[in-house]
Symmetry: C2
Subunit: 307 residues, 2 copies
């Protein structure tokens, strides 16, 4: 089965469970042309991640022990939401350092939440132990066919909504989202991969010719901070010669501020990263090139309505 | 000219200057049916107000002295924006009590901003003096034909976007927005007027049979706190037998929290007021009634990205 067919099948599978998120073409943001936006932070749980989670759960047999994930972020929230919606138990191990906003988000979704002292590695270890002990299923956050096909539905949907763009700017963490873009668009439109300078696993892999471990830090690390790019993503990116650009953290924060000031959209740093490439000049479109920017996540911390 | 023609003419006039704001149909918010939303807080300056401001400026001769307004809120921001965009000078008198978020918003729009010590009445007096002295033009915030026709374009646009609803819930302050809804829809769909218990000029007028002055306070007062309903609005509402419901401040705050939690939309209390009627049971739709909710403004204070 090719990516087009996988993504079409995923679309049919997940349609009853996900939102068709809105689009709008906007002038502003210092750009000398309109920008076609899609607001995927309005998806359930505030990011695109439920697309991949639902596609995985609906295309594989889920064991009686249910699901397990180690994540203090958007993936954990998506797994918790999809599991609750489909009636599977889910245990989510969250590192204490994820902070109260993301922990509260996952808690409200009804998962069996375990806060693990320390960092992500400790939560991951606890999740692995639980998986071995109970037979619960782990959903890979980005490097699995069902995950990538699920995220690809976003781009099929965007085209159905009348997308007019030569080029799409997409933020990259582990590569599940951009893998879906490359799988669906297959060279029909240009896809530009945007990473923070401080978390750039795809850029490192494209430069070095193969996936390598990178250090991750910076404002978007809790969403884009994958230590190594996924195999599926790098395969597609190398085959298609995907252009990769980096943006400094300050440009991400500036784009985040602009999204609030110009459009009343309050998003997390990862959600503003693709726009940052355009605003900062990290990516400069040609004179007549029509551009699209995906807003991929909105789970800002701290929660603006806390307290 | 009837309202349909006025609103069609307004639409043609303002199209180059306003955004076609997105719509999305969503299940959630404790409702037992999908809700059709329109996100008008994504309009320029964060509310629907530029529609009326542009329609006024583009259908009347603007004096060389330009515009003047007294407002620390959404109307002031819209007048400042429209004036800058069309190249007219604008002086905006803002009461000190409007607070730094709204003052900052108007300041960034490039108006000649005058912060007046005290409350709204003092700013209004200063604006009147400036108008008398210079011949500058005041744009009425809600009770003028061009303003109401401009706001009516929102509902024409919503229908063009495929609105599927028997009933629209709309928040009411001075009545410009709902006047536009009643003018455009003219009984073709039910319009429910939603006001805070603490600022209910339309409800008081419908109950008493004529506009009366009301006390205004509460969480949404800086956007919905008109002391007296507009004549255009009450005329249309009485003629059409518009249903009016009231919501307590606590229900508004709850709807505001739900919009962030379920959809990552951070809006001001006025922007959540229509949804509050549905969530609180102040308005209970019939078994098969399809409902739509307008999110009309997003200028929350304090600014979530301040500092």
């Amino acid at each position: 089965m090719n990516w087009t067919d996988r993504i079409r099948a995923a679309q049919a599978r997940i349609a009853p469970h996900i939102r068709r998120t809105p689009v709008m073409t906007v002038s502003g943001f210092g750009a000398n042309r309109p920008i076609a936006f899609k607001f995927e932070q309005m998806q359930h749980t505030g990011s695109f991640k439920p697309r991949g989670a639902f596609n995985t759960l609906l295309s594989q047999e889920v064991p009686a022990a249910g699901l397990v994930a180690a994540s203090g972020g958007n993936h954990g929230a998506a797994v918790a939401y999809a599991a609750a919606r489909l009636g599977h138990p889910a245990r989510i191990y969250v590192p204490e350092m994820a902070g109260p906003a993301k922990i509260g988000l996952i808690e409200r979704l009804g998962a069996d939440l375990q806060v693990v002292p320390g960092a992500y590695a400790n939560a991951f270890e606890a999740a692995r132990a639980y998986e071995a002990e109970t037979g619960a299923m782990q959903i890979h956050a980005y490097d699995a066919e069902a995950t990538v096909a699920g995220q690809g539905t976003l781009f099929a949907e965007w085209e159905e909504q009348g997308l007019e763009a030569d080029t799409l700017l997409v933020a990259v963490g582990g590569g599940g989202l951009i893998g879906g873009a490359l799988g669906w668009l297959a060279g029909r439109r240009r896809v530009v991969a945007v990473e923070p300078e401080t978390s750039c696993a795809l850029h490192a892999a494209l430069t070095g010719g193969m996936p390598v471990d990178v250090e991750v830090s910076g404002v978007a690390a809790n969403a884009l901070g994958a230590r190594r790019i996924g195999e599926i993503c790098i395969g597609l990116a190398q085959a298609q010669g995907t252009e990769s650009v980096l943006v400094p953290d300050a440009a991400i924060t500036e784009a985040q501020t602009a999204l609030w000031r110009e459009m009343r959209q309050l998003v997390e740093p990862a959600g503003a990263t693709a726009l940052a490439a355009l605003m900062s000049g990290a990516y400069v479109p040609g004179p007549d090139e029509r551009v699209a920017v995906l807003i991929c996540g909105g789970n800002i911390a701290p929660d603006p309505l806390r307290g």
